[in-house]
Amino acid sequence: MSYIIVVCILGLLGIGFYCLLITRNLLKLVVALQVLVKGAMLAVLFAGCLVDNMEVAQSMALTIIVADTIVAVIGLAMAIQVRQITNTSNIRSISTLRK
């Protein structure tokens, strides 16, 4: 059971990190970040299980969920603005926003 959860955590972190490194679409970046954060959230809860302190782990996981959602919301809003200004969702286009 422990190893299954560890594999899940490391797998989510690995997949999210890999996609974060190679993707160029702004929306896909947000997806990769979401996957990465899910791995981190599971890791926090797992740590709470290990030290038998689930209350604090759950409280921190709640904060992570809120922060993750806000990051996704702002990331999507930025992606919309970048697409409407530069006509592309390519992450390289952000550097062309500078006047």
Binding site: A32, M54, V56, R92
Partner: protein, 165 residues
């Protein structure tokens, strides 16, 4: 029972992989929702049903709706440009967690999982971790303001164009 956990784990990793690699943003959003659902199941198994419910409603519900909204505004696009980092180097960097896992496995350091449900989460949140609540409130206000500043002008322009027609 272990087989069920293993199946959930495989499904979780498969859906996460598909969410990041599938073609089409709408498909990616749907696979991300599946990843959220499976993460919520795993959280429930780990003894935190409250967080699992919040993850299910926020991760699989709200975030998916936001993604669909964003995709409907900006549409899908195939991007053809060079990678920042070569895929092989990225793959090597992403396998570092698995190398750590292999090291743990070989050295025999096995984490002892205690499936003990939390006493009362509300007491911890409202009494011991009040700072977290203030932080969450600040984050939510920041998010709302950010959305208003970023999306509002474009939506207003769209309405103006539609009225002009």
């Amino acid at each position: 029972m272990t087989l069920i956990y293993a199946l959930i784990a495989v499904a979780l990793l498969y859906s996460a992989h598909k969410a990041t690699r599938v073609k089409g943003l709408l498909n990616a959003a749907l696979w991300l929702a599946a990843t959220s659902c499976l993460t919520a199941i795993l959280m429930y198994i780990m003894g935190s049903p409250g967080i699992a419910v919040i993850e299910l409603s926020v991760g699989a519900g709200l975030v998916t709706v936001l993604f669909v909204f964003a995709i409907s505004i900006i549409g899908d696009e195939k991007i053809e440009s060079k990678f920042f980092i070569p895929p092989l180097a990225a793959l090597l960097m992403a396998t570092i967690p698995f190398i750590i896992l292999a090291f743990l496995w070989i050295s025999g350091i096995s984490p002892v999982f205690k499936n003990t449900p939390a006493d009362i989460l509300a007491n911890t949140i409202w009494e011991d971790r009040k700072v977290d609540l203030y932080l969450q409130a600040a984050l939510i206000i920041t998010g709302i303001l950010g959305i208003m500043l970023l999306i509002a002008p474009s939506v207003a322009n769209r309405f103006k164009k539609e009225r002009g027609k």
